[in-house]
């Protein structure tokens, strides 16, 4: 039985559809109840929903053999896992945003509000800019508006929230999409099953492209 961690929410549901189309369905997952784990002995898969940022922990620690996590989460937490496939779903980008009239003149330490302190630190280290990271857990866009930070480093999907708050993208850091990840030990013992799922999903992703 292959344990698969799916990210809760809309992305997770789209990802499950992909597993289903690849032949690894689990009908009980569509039932409306409070169950946490869904299993299909016939297809040999067991799915469970977890918080998107926790998927990588479940996979790295071996509670899940496979999982689906965003590239943003992978780069922030750097889990020791294999990144087997770009599913091409949940596309967005990691970006620096600020108030439209903000100009970084390099005269003082840049205050950066973000949910992704490692991503932000690594980006600014790469361009040699001294920063003060302000770790927030939500409503990041508020920070520059209220003067808590100069800029934010956050995920931008359509840019609507930024526009409606008089903010704009100042720099793009990297594109994001959902990735199929695998535990390194599971990969040794379940290589046949993991390889089969990866190949089938790859065919579907290529078709979608």
């Amino acid at each position: 039985m292959l344990n698969i961690a799916l990210p809760k929410g809309r992305l997770g549901e789209t990802v499950y559809d992909l597993f289903e189309r690849a032949g690894f369905d689990c009908p009980s997952i569509r039932e409306k109840n409070r169950k946490l784990i869904f299993e299909n002995e016939k297809t040999g898969v067991r799915f469970f929903w977890v918080k998107p940022s926790d998927v990588q922990i479940y996979v790295e620690r071996g509670a899940a053999d496979l999982g689906v996590a965003g590239k943003d989460i992978i780069l922030e937490y750097a889990p020791d896992v294999y990144e087997l496939l770009d599913l091409g779903l949940g596309k967005c980008r990691m970006a620096v945003a600020a108030k439209k009239d903000f100009h970084d003149d390099n005269t003082k330490t840049l205050r950066v509000a973000t949910k992704f302190p490692n991503v932000a630190s690594s980006y600014y280290e790469g361009i040699g800019r001294d920063i003060d990271v302000i770790k927030l857990n939500g409503s990041i866009e508020l920070a520059p508006i209220l003067g808590l930070s100069d800029v934010i480093v956050d995920i931008v999907e359509t840019g609507t929230t930024l526009r409606e708050n008089d903010l704009e993208v100042k720099a793009e850091i990297f594109p994001i999409s959902a990735r199929l990840i695998a535990n390194k030990s599971s990969f040794r013992f379940l290589s046949g099953e993991i390889g089969k799922i990866t190949e089938k999903m790859k065919e579907l992703v290529t078709e979608n492209d």
Binding site: Y82, A182, S185, R188
Partner: protein, 364 residues
């Protein structure tokens, strides 16, 4: 002695000692402490950069060992034509990646230092595989060659930054980001294909010739071919596979590296390889190969069986004659059962049988 009283870790240590001794390795005993200076000078070879340091009574700065290999290298000397083959099981003290606090970790392993040749590398890999077999359960040993990875990447691009990016992608079996990196660096389609073959390689030693025929004929590829030919005839050949996504710290390792996995443990439990470069940087002329097994990880294999702590709980009070209590307890133990004489049953004690010697409960 009843083996059931040994923990898995203790049993494994005994079996490993016997295994290594049969291959001519000698025990290496060392102090828990090492000169702090050794780690200050060799930070680049350490797993993490923090040690527990303290002043000895004479004012000398000491540290609790975070690593065993450095001490073995420091304690040895280069003698032409000779090989020092040693094994150990020791506690090391490192910062845990998960808790960010110091942790005592029990390690067992071996080192072969001297004029190390292909046979010694083969022997270390076979011993690594047999060590995993001694632990019990299903295991796999993956082998890679750090030089092969570098040579193939340098064949497709001379850009030093590409080497780092491509190595990272191969280590993560990440073909999609490797494609992007190849496109950005102007690597040809044939170059990308060669790197993808390295990334997805996972073959048994006997299949090495077929795989290597698809790669550039580099010195490292030849070494891989020679080792694979030896391993394909070894008794554990079906448990060994070549996988070039396996990478290691290039400050520490060069040449062949290997990692061992046990079903049921989420990360590698054994790690080793050749470390000639590290020897050279430490001023030694000898070559070296070795590995360590992280024994603390084995507890993940022990299921909580919900069993009893004790066969018989023997309950007595002040009305009981101690002679009668001793006699009753001895009789139970002679019958091969564990027995504890108690005045009250501790809340968390799990026992199979209760014998009550108290006046009001004289049922036994």
């Amino acid at each position: 002695m009843n083996d059931a009283v040994l923990t898995r870790e203790e049993r494994v240590v005994f079996e490993l000692r016997d295994l290594y001794r049969r291959y001519g390795y000698r025990p290496y005993r060392m102090s828990k402490f090492e000169e702090y200076e050794l780690y200050v000078r060799n930070k680049e070879f350490m797993v993490g950069d923090r040690v527990i340091a303290f002043n000895d009574t004479n004012g000398k700065m000491l540290a609790l060992k975070p690593d065993v290999t450095l001490s073995i290298i420091k304690g040895g000397e280069d003698r032409p034509g000779e090989k020092q083959k040693v094994y150990y099981d020791e506690n090391v003290y490192r910062v845990s990646k998960s808790t960010h606090r110091f942790k005592e970790i029990r390690q067992a392993g071996l080192e072969c230092i001297g004029e190390v040749d292909l046979y010694d590398v083969y022997e270390a890999i076979v011993l690594a595989a047999e060590s995993l077999g001694k632990i019990g359960g299903e295991y796999r040993l993956t082998v890679s060659h750090l030089g092969l990875l570098t040579e193939v990447i340098e064949c497709v691009s001379k850009d030093p930054s590409f080497l780092e990016i491509a190595s990272g992608c191969i280590a993560g079996k990440n073909a999609h980001d490797l494609k992007t990196a190849c496109d950005e660096s102007g690597v040809s389609a044939e170059g990308y294909d060669a790197l993808c073959r390295l990334l997805s390689a996972n073959f048994a030693p006997k299949d090495a010739p077929a795989f290597l025929s698809t790669l550039p004929d580099t010195p490292a590829a030849k070494e891989v071919g020679r080792l694979a030919a030896l391993l394909s005839d070894s008794p554990c050949a079906d448990k060994i596979c070549f996988d070039f996504s396996l990478t290691g710290d290039v400050n520490y390792y060069n040449g062949f590296i290997f990692k061992g996995f046990l079903r049921g443990i989420a990360s590698d439990v054994l790690s080793g390889g050749q470390y000639d470069g590290m020897m050279e940087k430490l001023g030694r002329t000898s070559r070296a190969v070795g590995f360590a097994i992280y024994l603390d990880l084995l507890e993940a294999l022990d299921e909580n069986d919900g069993g009893a702590d004790l066969d018989v709980a023997l309950l007595y009070d002040e009305t009981c004659d101690p002679k009668d209590v001793a006699k009753a307890a001895d009789a139970i133990r002679r019958a091969g059962k564990s027995c504890s004489a108690l005045r009250a049953i501790p809340e968390k004690l799990r026992y199979k049988e209760l014998k009550d010697m108290r006046k009001e409960g004289k049922k036994c």
